[in-house]
Amino acid sequence: MGDIDCRRFARQVATHGTPQAEGPLATFHYYVHWMLCAFCRQYWRDMKNIGEAHRSKITEQPLDLPTIQGRLRHHLKTRFPPPS
């Protein structure tokens, strides 16, 4: 399925997420394999969704940023008082 096997495709996805900049021919073979192999497409989807789940969990977590930043500000200004 293209000039790349499933093991190599899966290793590429888990390591780099997308085809490395190995040149247009390598990128072409990667995408041909992606189109032809349902198992590898599923593996790619698995990794994509795992990344997306982690990203959404962290970026959407509510934070009381003004209060936290206030505490940081107070600590740093106490630790580093302005020069007299």
Partner: protein, 196 residues
């Protein structure tokens, strides 16, 4: 004072403007990165505080070759490592490579006998369901793998920036991401979650 000017004047006193700039530009993504490492909100805040203090005390070391945010991520990572070291032994992912290779047959195709590797599309889980279990699975990752995964997926750092922050090579970074992602996938599947 723009972030880069902090580097251009390393011996200049730390004034309110420097502190405000640091906090406004960098506190949120440092905090969210610390949360992504699995620390609770109070510990995450403590790590960010320590990161800023360390930077301000030793900002002469920041030579401006990398972005300031990358440098700060590096300090955060070192602070997190110190904290984890004090908490005890880290999990190991040494078996991941062998487990991964075992999923393929000799010609490089997926082993069709491992049906549990692949769910039918209608059994795939929504991102929200994955998120619930992901926290548990992240606890099974060593800190280096968690940091690489979080900086890559949450902060979107490039490979050179990641290598700078983690003080590692591109090859080793690849190993961290490969093992971390596969460990998370295997863990989720063991919990009956099909992420795809």
């Amino acid at each position: 004072m723009p972030s880069m000017e902090i580097a251009e004047h390393p011996s200049a006193p730390v004034d309110d403007e420097v502190i405000e700039t640091l906090i406004e530009r960098h506190s949120e993504h440092l905090l969210r990165t610390a949360l992504g490492l699995g620390f609770d909100s109070s510990v995450a805040e403590e790590l960010v505080q320590d990161t800023f203090v360390t930077f301000l005390e030793a900002r002469q070391r920041f030579e401006g070759r990398a972005k300031l945010s990358t440098f700060l991520f590096g300090i955060l990572y070192n602070k997190a490592r110190e904290m984890r070291r004090a908490q005890g032994k880290e999990p190991s992912l040494d078996a991941i490579e062998e487990k991964f290779d075992g999923k393929f047959i000799a010609d490089g195709h997926w082993n069709p006998a491992l049906a549990e590797e692949f769910s039918e599309p209608e059994k795939g889980c929504h991102v929200a369901e994955i998120t619930l279990r992901l926290t548990q699975c992240l606890e099974g990752l060593p800190l280096a793998h968690r940091m690489a995964f979080t900086l890559k997926e949450v902060q979107g750092l490039s490979t050179p920036a990641l290598c700078e922050a983690l003080e590692t090579t591109a090859n080793h970074l690849g190993v961290l991401l490969f093992r971390g992602r596969n460990a998370l996938r295997d863990c989720l599947k063991a919990k009956g979650i099909h992420p795809g």
